[in-house]
Amino acid sequence: MPVKGWIEVDDMHCKGCALCVSACPQDVIALNMDRLTPKGYHPAHLIDEGCTGCAVCAIICPDAAITVFREVPVHSKKAPESA
């Protein structure tokens, strides 16, 4: 089963520069053209299943607007990494 992850984009910080859109290896991020942030930018959002929580979008994000989550299966043999 593929690893399941997701991102949360902070509207206060996202400036719609779209660097995460081009960086995402799964191509599941796009700018939300139906919505504007309080600063007037179209924020990035997840558009599809398939996010693995690799955090590439968060590393390229110049505004630290993205928080990345990942599901860790409890029966995994690998010891969970420390946070």
């Binding site: 399941k4 992850g5 520069c17 930018y41 968060a58 390229i60 994000c61 928080t67 989550f69 860790v72």
Partner: protein, 260 residues
């Protein structure tokens, strides 16, 4: 049979603690934000926040003190290394770093940076090189590439008239007082990770008292280069890296000894 256990949720990435909640004033896609975040992460991970004093420059990053959740002072244009020298000499137990752009460091602040390095001051300098004056509206900087169009060189930088770009890292590496001088880039994820490691080493140099350390980071300026954010990252890779090669110009052997 029991129901399958609910998977745990792990936070893979979040805003570093050393960041305030303020949104930066940088243009969308400007890699100043990435550089800020890397510094905040490194300081968090090394546990230096309580004893770090940053020195903000004049330039786009003039408000850097608002975004870092630590002590900061604002220096006059180009004089951040001089100010950092004073702070470090009075408070040698504190970690002192300056954050400077290319207009600040390589132009008006040339004397201060050269002499701080020559004296071997035990400070860390983060040098953001985006080949242009960002804050004042995109004029030619000492680091502007030959042929590059700016508002003060509208037909491209003419090397016969205005000379060649200055390579700060190479120059500073010739000084005996320096401990760690490297150049990294912020144009993709791989290079951002390398830049973070370099910042670790730079702060480590200071913590061990091995002399002056500087990390030069090739950055983008989508607004003044007049190209979109992802194209400006390509511009760094294609145009800037050949002129400013990414390399370790000086690494004190003490640094590699213990790590190996």
């Amino acid at each position: 049979m029991t129901a399958p256990a609910k998977p745990e949720v792990k936070v893979v990435f979040q805003r570093p603690e050393s960041f305030t909640d303020l949104t930066t004033h940088y243009c969308p896609g400007c890699t100043h934000g990435v550089a800020h975040r890397l510094i905040a992460e490194v300081i968090d991970e090394m546990g230096l926040r309580e004893k770090t004093i940053g020195v903000a420059p004049v330039g786009c990053s003039v408000f850097a003190y608002k975004y870092f959740n630590m002590d900061f002072v604002e220096a006059p244009h180009g004089r951040a290394p001089a100010m950092a020298t004073g702070i470090k000499r009075v408070l040698p137990q504190n970690t002192v770093f300056t954050y400077q752009g290319d207009g600040d460091l390589a132009s008006i602040g040339m004397a201060e940076i050269m002499h701080a390095a020559a004296r071997g001051e035990n400070i860390t300098v983060i040098f953001i090189n985006n080949a242009i004056y960002g804050m004042t509206g995109g004029q030619m900087a000492p680091t502007t590439l030959p042929g590059m169009t700016t508002t003060s060189s509208p037909f491209g930088r003419d090397v016969e008239l205005t000379g060649f770009p200055i390579r700060m890292s190479e120059m500073l590496a010739t000084m005996d007082g320096t401990g760690y001088i490297v150049r990294r880039s912020l144009h993709d994820v791989k290079n951002i990770r390398k830049a973070k490691k370099a910042l670790f080493m730079a702060f480590e140099t200071q913590e061990r008292g091995l002399g002056f350390s500087m990390v030069e980071l090739l950055s983008s300026c989508p607004t003044n280069w007049k190209i979109d954010p992802s194209k400006s990252l390509e511009f760094i890779a294609e145009r800037m890296v050949p002129v400013f090669p990414l390399d370790d110009f000086k690494v004190n052997p003490e640094l590699t000894k213990k790590r190996a």
